[in-house]
Amino acid sequence: MLKKTVLNNAHRAMNARMVDFGGWDMPVNYGSQIEEHHAVRNNCGMFDVSHMCPVDVVGADCRCFLSRLVANDVAKLTVSGKALYAAMLNDAGGVIDDLIIYFLSETRFRIVVNAGTAEKDLAWMQAKAAEWKLDVSITQRRDGANNLGIIAVQGPNARSKVWEVLPQVKAATEGLKAFFAAEVDQYFIASTGYTGEDGFEIMLPAGEAETLWNQLNAAGVAPCGLGARDTLRLEAGMNLYGQDMDETVSPLDAGLAWTVANKDGRDFVGKAALTANGQQKQFLGLILLDKGVLRGHQTVVTKQGNGEITSGSFSPTLQQSIALARLPLGVAIGDEVEVDIRGKLLKAKVVKPVFARNGKSVI
């Protein structure tokens, strides 16, 4: 039995093509994935991400708990509302999940974790809080009473569309720089996203999500499925958990070294393993020079040895195929490599793992 978000009926009413996404019945597109992709890059689109799981961490020891729990350092969170992207590691230094932590007060943080990893994440967090004997209570907000829906509104016109529909949140969110959140009445509005565009991710009581979804649609915001979400995040060079990294992959080998704060005395789960193992691979972008489509798990042949594509697709913005890949150390940006596509070796160029942001190619 597939799980459904609170917007399931709304998707069906909009003729979404529904697919099984890790046990969730989710819209992959509402007609054309490419049109939805362009809507977000050029105007405004919205995604139902209510399958992701908000987790509230409350108590006197919040900051101490999070400081030991994740590889990024919550000491960077000094202003209320500030958000931090972080990886939660196991003892071997593998990534249990990547998540966003919002700092609300010294006794209240909110974390948003991936849909498919939510149960194991919660179990891990509860176990660590108990092991460290800390005063924190950890509560998921996806299922049951007090559950939240999440709608991501993304694109250059996202803010103005949200303010058109929810004028009461404008004053509190007008000044939000990227990666902040503000709470207004029942709304939690964050300037975060997974597309490389400006916009808001809005959490609200689940029972109100369908009304907001329909109001945004009436205001001209295009409903977008998980298909466009994937090509948008790939162009933006954002990792997808389960594809670009998992429990067997170090954040240092997944392009997430920038999220690992290991230069000072702070200890966190996985730090010893990261220090012992160091970086083994590098995470880079590829652009296919020949015709075809790069896909996950294809082998990349380089002078320094073989690597592997972790995510690949066709880029609607660049109009050519792009990929994220884990490559041997020594491969340099600008190198020409080969990718094995159905037994043929096709030429690709190594680039920085960011392809498009804010409506434009950055290649």
Binding site: Q33, R295, S313
Partner: protein, 126 residues
């Protein structure tokens, strides 16, 4: 509900087949197949002159989402390929029955009788 013209024959692997007056057959993917794949961005067609057994991989269509093999619905030799769909893969999404992929000369025209009719294909494609 996808479009399944009664004038065509179908393979269970989602190809349509049209018998031409000159004895060749024109082959493409069905409306159901293009809808399931989503926006097509790449098409790889066989070489003219190449011979294929029935049910062998003969071409590849790739959408933004996924790659899918196209299978030879019948045994035969490729006599023509449609370069226009290579240049504009999205034409298959626009009209899967106009945007044909390739033509074959059947090894045995009677093999066409083994294919599904529209009702038979509709039953499996849903």
């Amino acid at each position: 509900m996808s479009n399944v013209p009664a004038t065509l024959k179908y393979a269970a692997s989602h190809e349509w087949v049209l018998l031409n007056a000159d004895g060749t057959v024109t082959i493409g993917i069905t409306d159901h197949a293009q809808e399931a794949l989503g926006d097509l961005v790449f098409v790889e067609l066989p070489e003219v002159g190449a011979a294929f057994e029935a049910e062998k991989e003969i071409a590849v269509v790739e959408s933004v989402k996924a790659a899918a093999d196209v299978y030879a619905p019948i045994a035969g030799e490729v006599v023509e390929v449609n370069q226009a769909v290579v240049d504009a893969p999205e034409s298959v999404n626009q009209d899967a029955y106009a945007a044909w992929l390739f033509k074959m000369k059947p090894a045995n025209v009677a093999d066409l009788d083994k294919l599904l009719d529209a009702a038979g294909y509709q039953a499996i494609a849903g």
